[in-house]
């Protein structure tokens, strides 16, 4: 996988989006801290200036302007002269005393608490410093300025801004790297799946998605995909088998049909013979059509029943009706057909399909059971759900062939003397699958017992259909 692909993954995009949100919220928090802290410094400066002024006011009350000038002169040379700014100016803003060289031009009209840039000499360099100050007009035209150098605040601000910038930069770097790493990691797993499906599309149906064994969601996905692939492979194998069987089973009657026509053509022309051949050909064609119809019915049953055709149905009447259809046939053959119901079995079924399945089971049972014998159909309202059983006293099916007879066109009788197309049980199997029912072939000792176990149906509501 190329690194560029990792940047295009959903994971990476999600990581980016998450990172953006995280950076924005961290930025907000840091900005608040910055604002709160620098505000605290401002308030501290105001308090200091206020305290100075309280002292000066006291001096003024006692000594008037002279007192102030004296005190300012003293303080301008005092221990806090580096930090504090004082100036007393005359009526035309000419400097009288203080540690400023002159009244700042921009403050001539402004009074009260002000902030302004002030150029100070540090050693032999001039430096512009932010300064906070209070300015007053004294009686008799004098002006007073008491201020504080805000260098500390500027430094603090710079440090905080630096810290914020660094942490955001680190956050971005780690977030990008992490997102990239995570998406590469996920991409590797997805790539494995893509590679496998590519191989399968290219024709290698045996490929399976590797399972890491950690049991994470990718393993679950891989297992599901593999199960699906197994199913597809099974179905395809089944389809190949069916196609081969269809081709094989159709070829025999078609060949018979063809040779019959050919033979009639060679023979001496005779209208009665022609009619006979044509009738035989039509019969053969009808059998072929019947086989195709049976295959279509299976396909239809396998495609699954339409939801609207599935209805909560009481099985005893349905089974009774099919049994009633077959009863004379059984009797004719010297078999006893019995129907028994234990409770009222209810299942969610497509009436049409289930009737056909039960008909096929009865058809088989009657066809393969020699007289005298018996065929029994039972329905039972079992605790796990409805059960339908068709049992006979015929030769049964050897245990090792029970699976095989469910396949299409499988007939155990080698001679194939009994009419039939070998599709009867396939249809039953398809119908069972559609209904989520379990189809079981067991030994009736003697004979065959076919059981259909339907899933349980929830109790009908009061106004249910």
């Amino acid at each position: 996988m190329s690194p560029r692909n990792a940047l295009r993954t959903t994971t990476f995009r999600l990581a980016l989006a998450y990172l953006a949100i995280f950076v924005a919220s961290s930025g907000l928090v840091l900005a608040f801290i910055y604002w709160a802290t620098s505000g605290a410094i401002d308030r501290e400066s105001e308090q200091i200036i206020e305290a100075e002024l309280t002292g000066l006011r006291e001096q003024y009350r006692q000594w008037g302007i002279v007192g102030i000038v004296r005190v300012i002169e003293e303080r301008s040379k005092g221990e806090r002269a580096d930090e504090m700014r004082y100036l007393v100016a005359g009526p035309r803003f000419e400097r009288i005393t203080g540690n400023l060289t002159g009244w700042p031009a921009e403050l001539r009209e402004r009074r009260g608490l002000v902030e302004f840039p002030l150029t100070v000499r540090v050693g032999d360099r001039a430096e512009v410093r932010a300064t906070m100050a209070m300015t007053f007009d004294l009686p008799n035209g004098f002006h007073l300025l008491v201020g504080r150098d805000m260098k500390e605040r500027s430094e603090f601000r710079q440090r905080v801004i630096g810290a914020i910038a660094w942490s955001l930069a680190l956050m971005l770097a780690f977030g990008l790297a992490g997102g990239y790493w995570v998406s590469r990691h996920l991409m590797r797993r997805v790539d494995a799946i893509n590679r496998t499906s590519g191989d399968i599309r290219a024709g290698d149906l045996k490929q399976r998605v590797p399972v890491a064994g950690s049991g994470d969601e990718f393993d679950q996905l891989a297992r599901n995909l593999n199960a699906m692939l197994d199913q597809i492979e099974r179905l395809m194998a089944g389809m190949r088998q069916v196609t081969a069987n269809v081709a094989h089973d159709m070829r025999t009657p078609l060949n018979r049909l063809r040779s019959r026509l050919e033979l009639t053509l060679i023979e001496k022309p005779d209208e009665a013979r022609y009619r006979e051949t044509i009738q035989a050909t039509i019969d053969e064609a009808d059998r072929l059509i019947a086989t195709f119809n049976a295959m279509l019915s299976i396909a239809e049953a396998e495609a699954g029943s339409k939801a609207e055709a599935m209805e909560r149905t009481e099985l005893p009447p349905l089974v009774d009706q099919v049994a009633e259809l077959y009863e004379p046939l059984a009797e004719e053959k010297g078999l006893v057909l019995t129907v028994a119901h234990a409770g009222v079995a209810v299942a969610h079924v497509d009436r049409h399909l289930l009737s056909q399945a039960v008909a096929n089971l009865l058809d088989n049972a009657i066809k393969y059971t020699p007289a005298p014998g018996r065929v029994t159909v039972r329905t039972e309202a079992g605790p796990q759900g409805a059960v339908v059983t068709v049992a006979d006293s015929g030769p049964g099916i050897p245990a090792d062939q029970r699976e095989a007879v469910l396949g299409r066109f499988v007939r155990l009788e080698q001679s194939r003397s009994t009419p039939g197309n070998g599709l009867g049980l396939s249809l039953v199997q398809a119908v069972a699958t559609t209904h989520g029912a379990e189809l079981a072939l067991t030994d009736n000792a003697p004979g065959l017992c076919v059981t259909l176990r339907f899933p349980r149906v929830p109790e009908a509501r009061g106004n249910g259909k």
Binding site: I282, N293, Q321, L325, L329, S355, Q356, A359, D363, G420
Partner: protein, 238 residues
């Protein structure tokens, strides 16, 4: 041929319109129906078919479902909206129960899935033609000396009561309602049992032969006849 066509009330031959696009199938249908005594018109497209069906009187229509121009179901729906009650037999390559239901809902009187035996088509066509003729519901059915009382559910032949099982009664009722017509095994399975699949063994034959034992045995002439390659027919002796 298997059966002869019904006649119109004034004794003329019945007129059928076949709407079918496949040339060969159409030729086969037209020839078969003409041989059976019908007068047949043919339309090869849905639009032609609809035009003919709405402008001329026909006794029945045989309509293929898949047609160029306009599909069969639309033709039937359009005709029904125009108030035409001409019986319609729909032919289709789709044989699923769902498609059958759709065909009948659209206004078709019967539905036949391809491939079909011509005898089957003829029998069903006759049945839909007859349906158009019968008037009010009856409580008594009579064929020769065979009588069926639908209210008391009794059957008599030549004044002699015949005991029938319920399914035999339903079977006989169906045959008597279509007296004189060929009723195929598939039609019986549909009408008497409401099954639309074909059983592997011909169960219907056994049912009919039992019924025959009860209604024909011991009487000088049989009423229930087997029509080879088609089905059964209940009719008075000529």
């Amino acid at each position: 041929m298997v059966a002869t066509a019904l006649q119109t009330n004034d004794g003329g031959r019945m007129k059928i319109l076949v709407i079918e696009d496949d040339r060969e199938t159409a030729a086969y249908l037209v020839k078969g129906l003409e041989e059976s005594g019908y007068v047949v018109d043919h339309a090869a497209t849905g639009t032609d078919g609809l035009f003919l069906a709405s402008s001329q009187p026909y006794d029945a229509l045989v309509v293929d479902r898949m047609l160029p121009g306009m599909d069969g179901l639309t033709i039937v729906e359009t005709l029904r909206r125009q108030g035409k009650t001409t019986p319609v037999l729909i032919l289709s390559a789709m044989g699923e129960v769902d498609d059958r239901v759709k065909g009948l809902k659209a206004g078709g009187d019967d539905y036949l899935a391809k491939p079909y035996a011509f005898a089957e088509l003829l029998a069903r066509l006759e049945a839909v033609l007859r349906r158009g003729q019968t008037g009010q519901p009856t409580t008594r059915l009579t064929v020769g000396d065979l009588e069926m009382d639908l209210l008391s559910r009794t059957v008599k032949r030549h004044g002699q009561t015949i005991d029938l099982l319920p399914r035999e009664f339903r079977l006989l009722e169906c045959l008597m309602r279509h007296a004189g017509q060929v009723v195929t095994r598939t039609m019986l399975l549909e009408k008497v049992w409401d099954y639309h699949f074909d059983p592997q063994t011909n169960v219907i034959d056994v049912h009919v032969s039992r019924l025959r034992q009860k209604i024909d045995r011991g009487f000088d002439h049989p009423l229930l006849h087997t029509v080879r390659g088609a089905g059964y027919c209940l009719r008075e002796p000529a």
